[in-house]
Amino acid sequence: MSEYSHSPSVGIVAPQTARFSEPLALRSGAFLADYELVYETYGTLNADRSNAILICHALNASHHVAGTYADDPDNVGWWDNMVGPGKPVDTNRFFVVGVNNLGSCFGSSGPLSINPATGKAWGADFPLVTVEDWVDAQARLADRLGIAKFCAVMGGSLGGMQALCWSIRYPSRVAHALVIAAAPNLSAQNIAFNEVARQAILSDPQFSDGHFSEKGEKPRLGLRVARMIGHITYISDEQMAEKFGRQLREGLKFSFAPEFQIESYLRYQGDKFAEYYDANTYLRVTKALDYFDPAAEHGGSLAKALSPATAKFLVVSFTTDWRFAPERSREIVKALIDNRRDVSYAEIAAPNGHDAFLLEDPRYLATVRAYLKKAYP
C-alpha cells in the first residue's frame, strides 16, 4: 500500500444540479433545447478563481470523483486515490469540479431523463453526443461557476480525450491539460471492440430499438456481454494471468457453467454493470469514443489540430495498456513537440493495463502530484 491510502478522503459530498436553457448545438447537427448537468465540487475556489481543476470522466464513471455520500457510505468516488486533502489533486489547495457528461445515466440529461418535448424519458431518442459536445457543455458549467480559466483540466482514457479537446477548443480557458492513458483517436481495433459491444446490446431482444424502458424491460444480456468485452481490454494479459491464470472454481464439469475463475469474474463484472448502467448510454459513449479524432479536420495532422492549444501538458501512459498503448500517447507528445509546447511525458511501467490510470501506483501519483504542485505552487 502506498502512502496515499492513509490520506483522508474528502469525506461526505453531495451532487448538485445546474440547469441550462440556452440551446446547445451538437456536432451531429441536432440541438438540445435545455439540459441539466449534475456535478460535485470539492475544496474552495480562491479569490481570483485561479485554482479550479476540472476532472473529466471516462466511459462508465460520473461526477462522483471523490468522497462518499451520507446515505451511501460505500459509494466512494472513482478517483478517490487521486483527489482529496493531501492527495495529488489536493483539495486543500484546489477547487475540484467533477461533472457528469450529457448522455450519461447518472443524473445529467441523457436517455434516462425526461424529454421536455414529450414529457417521457428520452430513451433511444436522446441525440448522439460527442466529446466536443461534452466539452461545450462543461464550458457552460464553468461559466455558471464563475471559472474563466481552469488551472487544469484532467482525465484518464476518454476523460483524457476531453482534456485534449478542451486545450484545442478553449485554449484560453486551460492553463494545464493532464492527458492520462488516452489516445488522439481510436484505432480500427478499438472501434472493432466497441462495435462488438454495441452489437451485443443492439441484438439483445430486450433492447427493442432502445425503447425497452417503456416496456419495463432491460437488455441485460447485451450489456453484460458488452461489459465483458470492455473489461478484457482494460486489463493486461500478464495481469489477467497473474490474477486468474487457469484457476478453476471446482474442477472441470464439462459444461458451459463458469469453470475457470476468469469466466466467473467476467460474469460477475457483466452482471453488476448490467444492473447499474443504461444500454442507450453505453451505445452513445462508445460512439463518442469512436468519433473523437481532432486531427481529422486537419488532414490527419494532429500537430495542426493542436496548434491552437496554449496549455502546458502532462501526458501519462502505462506500458501494459494495450487499449490505448504508450505509442498513442507518444503521438500526442510528438504533436505538442512539433508545436514547441511545454509538455512532460511519463511512461509508467505498471502491470495493470488500461486500468492503471485508476490505481495507486506511487510513481504515477508522484508525477501528477509534482506536476500540479509546480502548476499552482
Binding site: L314, R330, S344, Y345, A349
Partner: protein, 193 residues
C-alpha cells in the same frame, strides 16, 4: 559527483534563448540551470521513473523514453543544441546516438570521463579497473559499456566528419591544455557537422 563540473562549461556554450534537448537529463538540474541562466527552452529526456517527478518539480519539460531508439520523434535540425552529459560511455550504439544528436541539433555538446587520464592509467598498470570521481563504479556494477579516451573521441570525430567548435578538458576543477589526454579527467566537446 555532487557538483557536476561540466555544467558551468555547458552553460557557457549555450546561446541565450536557445532551444535545447538534454539527453539523460537526470533530475533536471542542468536544464534548470540553462533555463534560469540562458533562458533556454526545450526538453529533457530521462528513462528513470524516479527522476520524472524531480524534473517536473524543477520546472523541466521531461519526456520519459529510452535514448537509444527514442529520438526518432524529433525532426531534423529542430534544436539549437543537443546535450549528452557524461552518458555517452553508457550508450550501446555510440555512433547512432551521436549521429542522431547532430541530425536533431545544429550543435551537440558531449561530455565524458577521459579513460586516458593518468590516474586511470596508473590503476590499470597496477592491474585493477579504475575507480575515480568521474568513474565511480566497480567493474561489476558499472553502467558504462564503452569507455574511451580523448584521443579515441578525436579519432571518431575525424572519422564521422564532426567538426569540433570548442573543447575543454578539466583535471579536478582546473582546466587543462597541454597533454590533455593524460592530465585531463573530464572532457567536454562542442560539435557540429
Amino acid at each position: 559527483m555532487s557538483l557536476r563540473r561540466d555544467y558551468s562549461v555547458i552553460a557557457g556554450w549555450i546561446q541565450p534563448g536557445s532551444r535545447v534537448l538534454d539527453l539523460g537529463c537526470g533530475d533536471g538540474t542542468l536544464f534548470k540551470l540553462l533555463a534560469d541562466t540562458r533562458q533556454a527552452t526545450g526538453y529533457g529526456i530521462e528513462i528513470d521513473d524516479d527522476k520524472i517527478p524531480l524534473c517536473i518539480a524543477n520546472g523541466v519539460n521531461v519526456l520519459q523514453r529510452d535514448l537509444e531508439g527514442g529520438l526518432r520523434d524529433f525532426d531534423d535540425q529542430s534544436f539549437d543544441c543537443v546535450i549528452l552529459s557524461q552518458t555517452l560511455q553508457a550508450m550501446r550504439h555510440t555512433e547512432l546516438v551521436l549521429d542522431e544528436m547532430l541530425r536533431i541539433g545544429r550543435e551537440a555538446i558531449v561530455t565524458f570521463p577521459n579513460f586516458g587520464y593518468w590516474h586511470v592509467r596508473m590503476q590499470l598498470l597496477m592491474g585493477r579497473m579504475p575507480v575515480s570521481d568521474d568513474l565511480p563504479y566497480q567493474w561489476y556494477d558499472t553502467p558504462n559499456v564503452h569507455l574511451f579516451t580523448i584521443a579515441d573521441f578525436d579519432a571518431l570525430c575525424e572519422k564521422k566528419g564532426y567538426r569540433v567548435i570548442s573543447r575543454q578538458v578539466l583535471a579536478g576543477d582546473k582546466p587543462v591544455t597541454a597533454l590533455a589526454n593524460i592530465r585531463g579527467s573530464l572532457a567536454m566537446y562542442r560539435l557540429t557537422r
